[in-house]
Amino acid sequence: MRRRPGIGGLQTAAAARDQYRLLGENVAKLRTDLMKEQLATFRSQLEEFARKHKNDIRKNPTFRAQFHEMCAKVGVDPLASNKGFWAELLGIGDFYYELGVQIVEICLATRPHNGGLTNLQELCTLLRQKRKSGCEAVSEDDCLRAIRKLKILGSSFEVISVGKRKLVRSVPTELNRDHNEILELAQAQRYVTVDEVERRLSWTSGGATDALDTLLDEGLAMIDDGHEDGKRRYWFPCVSSISFSGGARGFLIHKNFTCTQNIRCGR
C-alpha cells in the first residue's frame, strides 16, 4: 500500500498511537483490577480465618504472632484502632491495651531498682506473675507489640538492643555509645569494675569513672563495695534476668501487685 502522504497520513499515525495508548492503559488497568481483586479476596479470607480462629489467636501467643505477620503482609494492622472492624472481630485490642498498662505499672514499680531500663525477658516473667493463670498467656512478641503501641501514644517507652539482649526503656534517658558499651560489658558477669572498663574498652581512668558515675546517677547502676578484694563493683540490674519464682516478695515493694484484669480473669 502506498504510504499516504500529507495530513491524512499524519492523522492515521496519530490514531494508531492513540489506539496503542488506550490498549496500554487497559492492560495496566486490568492488571491493577486483578491485583485489587486478589487482595480483596485475600483480605476476606483473612477475616474468615480470624473469625474461625479467634480463640486460638487469643490463647496461643505463637499463633497470635504468626497471625500478626500474615496481617502485616496484606497491610492490615488489627491493632490500629481499638474500635473498628478488627477490634470488634478479634477483641484483641483490649488485650494489648491492658498489657500496655501492666507493662507501664511494672516498669514504674521496678524503676527504683533498675533505673528505668528493664530486661525484656525479666519484664515478661514479671508480667506472667502479675497476670497469673486464667489470663491469656503472653509472649515476648506480645510485649513488643504492646510497647510499640505505647510508643505511638507518645510515651518514652522504647525497646533498645544492648549486645544480645533487648531492654525496655521507660524513662527519657538516652544511652550514648559509651554507656551502651559498658552495659554490653556488664552482661557477662552482671557487674563491671573501673579496671575492667578501662582495660576492655581502652578508656582512660577518668573516662571510665565519669561514665560509671553518670550511669549511677541515672539509677542504672548500683554500687557494691562488699567484695573481699576491696574493689568497687558496679552492678547493672537491667542486664540481669533474675527469676522471680515464688511469690511477690522481692524487688517489688508495692503491696497491691495483682492482676489488673479482674473482670476478665473472673477474680
Binding site: 524503676r111 558515675d213 546517677d217 539509677g219 548500683m222 554500687i223 557494691d224 562488699g226 563493683r233 552492678w235
Partner: protein, 217 residues
C-alpha cells in the same frame, strides 16, 4: 528459693549491691567533692543523709535507690523478727539477716545502724542503749500488744483476775498465743499503757517473780 529455717528470703537478699549502703550523694557531685577535699572518691560514702534543702546534690534516681534499699531492709527485718519471735537485735552480734554467705556479703556496721535507725524513726523499733548497739524491735507496736493482751484477758475469762507477769509470758494460757515468750520490756510497756487507761493495776510482789497484774477490763 533460698530459706533461712522456715523463712523465705526475698530476692534482693541475693543481690550484692543491696548489702552496700547506697550513696546519699549523686556520684558526680561526690566525685567533685572528693576532689576538692582531696579524699578518695569511694570514701564519700560517709555522707549519711542530705537535707531536703540540698536536694540539688542528689539525683532523683539516687534518692529512689537509697529509699528503696532502706524500705526493703526495714520490711525484711520486721517480717523476720515477727515470724521468728525476735525482739532484740544486737548490732555487734551475728544476726542471720545481716550476712549472706551464698554471695559472700555482709552489711557494714554503718548500714545496720542506718536500717535500724530508719525503723526507729518509723516507730517500729527503739534503741535500748545510748551507744545504739541494742535495738528493740516492735514488730507489733506497743498499742497492738496492748490490744493483744486485752484479747488474751477476754479469751481466758480474766476480766477481774490476777496474773503474774511471768505467767502472762510463759504460763499455760499464753501457749500458742503471741504473748508466749514476749520480751519483758515490751510487755511492761504495754501493761503500763493499759494501766494508764485504767484496764489493770500493776503490783509488785516480794521479788521480780511476783510482779503481777490485777485486771479490771
Amino acid at each position: 528459693m533460698q530459706k533461712l529455717g522456715d523463712f523465705k528470703l526475698p530476692q534482693f537478699f541475693n543481690y550484692p549491691p543491696y548489702f552496700t549502703y547506697s550513696p546519699a550523694l549523686s556520684a558526680v557531685v561526690a566525685h567533685a567533692l572528693a576532689h576538692y577535699f582531696n579524699v578518695l572518691h569511694s570514701e564519700m560514702n560517709w555522707v549519711e543523709d542530705i537535707p531536703p534543702q540540698l536536694n540539688l546534690l542528689v539525683s532523683r534516681p539516687v534518692r529512689d535507690t537509697r529509699e528503696k534499699q532502706v524500705q526493703l531492709w526495714k520490711d525484711f527485718i520486721l517480717d523476720y523478727c515477727k515470724t521468728q519471735h525476735i525482739f532484740v537485735i544486737e548490732l555487734e552480734e551475728e544476726f542471720p539477716l545481716f550476712s549472706n554467705p551464698v554471695i559472700e556479703r555482709s552489711l557494714s556496721h554503718e548500714a545496720r545502724k542506718a536500717f535500724l535507725s530508719a525503723l526507729v524513726t518509723e516507730g517500729r523499733a527503739e534503741w535500748l542503749d545510748k551507744g545504739h548497739r541494742k535495738c528493740l524491735i516492735l514488730w507489733h507496736r506497743i498499742q497492738d500488744w496492748a490490744d493483744i493482751i486485752l484479747r488474751f484477758v477476754k479469751d481466758n475469762g480474766l476480766e477481774d483476775g490476777v496474773m503474774t507477769i511471768e505467767e502472762i509470758r510463759s504460763g499455760i494460757e499464753s501457749r500458742g498465743t503471741e504473748l508466749h515468750g514476749i520480751d519483758r520490756t515490751i510487755l511492761m510497756r504495754a501493761l503500763k499503757l493499759l494501766e494508764h487507761k485504767g484496764k489493770l493495776a500493776i503490783f509488785k510482789g516480794t521479788s521480780t517473780d511476783d510482779e503481777g497484774v490485777k485486771f479490771s477490763v
